[in-house]
């Protein structure tokens, strides 16, 4: 349990850092606008018309966010907002760069009456989502005066999270499926990926449940070897929900999210109970999962293409015990082979990063569009190509800073629910970056997850901005100076609360 000594280790800044926040925010915006300018200069040979629009748009949004934070969470960590704006702006610039319809050539061709069709990156769409997401950010900060409110509704939140997580799995594929996974809900031209929100909801539920049951989870129910397991009635509900989550995700072929939930579950259980045993059990379960996973065809493909991508480049086909690459499914069938998988997207991403080298080709000067989904799942390799190793490292370090600021808020806050919540979301954030960036850089098998703040996609932006709002709320509460007595009237104290 928490000792007083451990708490006092955490240094808490008790004064607002508004100017630091503002300075860094301006810096983040300058980089964003400069990126837009560079894209225009490199791609169309002039400052892009959209630069002012997008720059001003993002500037207004950031200014709004700044005032909300300065007014309603003045003691909050000054780094979180600028870091998020920086990533969001950089992502917009890359999407702008990949979005053909923002290019001068494209517009000229359209004016000349040429018919052009192109679906993919959309800058206006992403900017609209950014605006919506930052409004959600502000609303979250305004409404959620105290994070403990979430604890009160934890069962409701958990149920809603689970419902939305499971929904795409039960909807027909025409509504929910794409690229082998069933994780979307599409209505009209509008699509959301509910798992992004379910992730937050389930962190809230786990945090609430674990805080309530912390003491009873320590009561030993059964002893199996060296492991002291808690009583079934304490661990049971959370275990049931966990298994349901994994089952649903397996049904939807969403293994990236399954890994996130697994990491979330294990890390939060460990933090709540302070027993390392849970980590060991987690590793053991993971090892079992690694043994079973290759039996699932969808996963087996990912593992095979990860181990030897060359063999599956542009279509891998097994003909007489040998895997022949550059053989498409129809060609493969005509040769009497078995079509296995295609690793070209992964390879294109790696080629893209190789092209970038240390310094990169420069924004607008590379060819990141050669990689399919270069604006969403593979946006990291697009940055790797145009900003080089240097830019890729900056992005990773910014992610690391967000994670560490989140963890710092968790350490600083005295409320156990907030502590678990902030710790949980920060770790999951790191894990998500690891799974997607590790996937596209061939560190681990590729599973589709969004790259927080950078990738095109509304759900991810909304969820991540809400996450930042909650972290800001938690850090504000943690760093707010303790209420001071304003009058000494003997035994009675009048206390200023907010």
């Amino acid at each position: 349990m928490t000792s007083v000594a451990a708490e006092s280790e955490v240094q808490i800044a008790t004064r607002p850092r508004r100017s630091a926040q503002l300075g860094m925010l301006v810096f983040a915006l300058v980089i964003t606008v400069a990126s837009f300018a560079q894209v225009g200069l490199a791609r169309d040979g002039g400052l892009p018309a959209g630069m002012y629009g997008y720059g001003i748009g993002l500037g207004i949004l950031a200014a709004g966010a700044y005032f909300v934070v300065a007014r309603f969470a003045p003691y909050a960590d000054p780094l979180l907002l600028p870091l998020a704006v920086f990533l969001n702006g950089l992502g917009l610039a890359m999407i702008y760069r990949l979005d053909l319809s923002t290019s001068a050539d494209w517009k000229k061709a359209l004016q000349e009456g040429k018919k052009l069709s192109y679906i993919g990156p959309s800058t206006t769409g992403q900017l609209t989502w950014t605006a919506l997401a930052m409004i959600f950010f502000a609303v979250t900060l305004l409404v959620l005066k105290d994070i403990k409110v979430l604890q009160r509704y934890m069962y409701t939140i958990g149920a809603v999270g689970l419902f939305f997580l499971a929904l795409p799995g039960f909807l027909p594929s025409s509504i929910s499926g794409a690229l082998g996974a069933k994780i979307w809900i599409r209505i009209g031209g509008f699509s959301i990926q509910p798992s992004e929100f379910s992730k937050l909801a389930l962190v809230a539920f786990f945090a609430g449940y674990l805080v309530n049951k912390r003491q009873s989870l320590s009561i030993v129910g059964k002893k199996i070897g060296p492991a002291n397991l808690p009583r079934a009635r304490d661990l049971g509900p959370i275990l049931v929900i966990f298994v349901i989550c994994l089952g649903v995700l397996a049904l939807e072929n969403d293994f990236g999210t399954a890994i996130l939930f697994f990491g979330l579950f294990v890390s939060m259980l460990y933090v709540a109970t302070e027993r390392f045993m849970w980590v060991l059990i987690g590793v053991l379960l993971l090892a079992c999962a690694c043994l079973i996973a290759p039996e699932i065809p969808h996963v087996a493909q990912r593992i095979d293409t990860w181990l030897d991508p060359q063999a599956y480049f542009d279509g891998g086909c097994r003909i007489g015990g040998k895997i022949v690459n550059q053989t498409h499914a129809d060609v493969c069938a005509s040769k009497g082979g078995v079509y296995l998988a295609d690793s070209s997207q992964l390879m294109f991403g790696l080629f893209s990063m190789g092209q970038g080298g240390v310094l990169g080709t420069g924004l607008g000067q590379g060819e990141p569009w050669r990689t399919p989904l270069s604006y969403s799942d593979f946006i990291f390799t697009s940055f790797g190509e145009e900003l080089g190793l240097t830019g890729a490292m900056v992005i990773l370090i910014v992610y690391a800073l967000i994670v560490q600021r989140g963890m710092k808020a968790a350490l600083a806050t005295k409320d156990n629910f907030a502590k678990l919540f902030a710790g949980g979301v920060s770790f999951v954030f790191a894990l998500q970056v690891f799974v997607i960036v590790g996937g596209v850089t061939r560190l681990i098998p590729l599973t589709g997850l969004t790259t927080p703040f950078l990738a095109q996609g509304g759900s991810s932006l909304l969820a991540n901005w809400i996450l930042i709002a909650i972290l800001i709320r938690i850090s504000d509460t943690a760093r707010r100076p303790a209420p001071q007595p304003i009058q000494d009237e003997g035994m009675t104290q009048v206390v200023r609360t907010q």
Partner: protein, 482 residues
Amino acid sequence: MNKPLRKVAVAGMVLLVVLLINVNYIQGSQADKLRTDPLNSRQFAQQWEHNRGPIMAGKVTLAYSEKIGGKDGKEYQRHYNQGTMYSPITGYVSVFSRTGLEAAQNGLLDGTDKRLALHNWFDVLVGKKAAGATVQTTIDPDAQEAAYSGVKNKTMRRGGAVAIDVKTGAILAMASFPSYDTNNVAVHDGTKANKVFESLTKEKPTPLLNYAMRETFAPGSSFKIIDSAAAIESGQYTKDSPADANRLLLPESGQELHNSDGDEAKCNGSPPLINSFAASCNSTFGRLAGMLGQSKLAEMAAKFGFNKPTEVENGMSSATSVYPTKRLGGDALARSGIGQEVVTASPLQMAMVAQAVANDGKLMKPYLVKRVVAQDQSELVTADPKQLGQPISADTARQIQEMMGAVVDHGTASRYLAGRDIAGKTGTAETGVNGINEDWFVGFAPRNNPKVAFAVVTEGPRGSSGAEYSAPIALRIVQAVH
């Protein structure tokens, strides 16, 4: 809960550090490998944007880039000067692939090599493409001309010639026939390039193959150099040892191994080895092969470079010349001694044999790039001659040199080369296809203090010989070398 929380924070940090390390690995150390991965089509799509540096032979420019504007105003066309003659050396850049020095030196030619980034750090910083470097080859243009026109005018089907600097291993000439104009495949239009490639692939024999090193031929009697080397190295023979030159009946079939290539009159009794060598007596060397045994011959051939490819420049390797290591019967062993049976050799391999003999036994690694110079005239690469080994002692080498001189003085090549300051060994092998013979001349010049080693192979009609078909070409090559 802070204690476990700190550990989780560290775990989160470890995940991101692992990503950082991996990104450094990919973009820092693997970038070049990824850029030149054969599956990476980017390198071909983008190559026209590079102002590739020229490839030179002496003062002659073999390949250069010309700015042609194109759709983004930054396209370059690659031109080849006498592309047909120099195709085995320069290779080409096409929409689909790169070959020859264009491939081997690609990074330096197109300016993407790290060594150039250091010289052009300012350009790199402001995002300008680094200018390509100049690749200076070891080729002597006059020798190349003599080699190519010689082979082209004489051979009926295919042919190749290689000349090597005896002391360094620098390749002075490398000609291949049939050949093709590299300008035709360096077109930017993919459909056009595809058509050219298709028709070149259909031609038989295809001009796309470099017959000077990527193809092997039966070496015939020129392999007797290796027999002699093995015999003298064994210690049982010198060039003057008497060797049985009488009719040889093959041990298994009892058939005679004819002395078709040599002078029948000289191949009887037990003349000194040098005389049998000069007259190219199959009977002597077939017998010698049987006495030395397969393993000794295989060992000697391998020391000269047989049974493994020789890499001339990065990615430019020769076809493997073969002396069989699987056990041969008595007849086959005798025939292998006269360069028949399954023995095959590339012209480059036989030139290497001659080079080692002429260089007192020291075999040098053949190479094509003399130096690479950046645009600011700083030297990025300077050739560094490397010794591959010493297959024979200096004494053995000198004896074989003398034997090869005898071939010209009073042996098989005397009719065509008598009085010339050149030494060599003829070889004539029947292919059994359309009555075509492989006609070889392998040797060096001048006889004292040799400078140039060579191997020439042409294909002539039945009855043609290495002395008649290839020896005069070899003479013209060595005369052309400056």
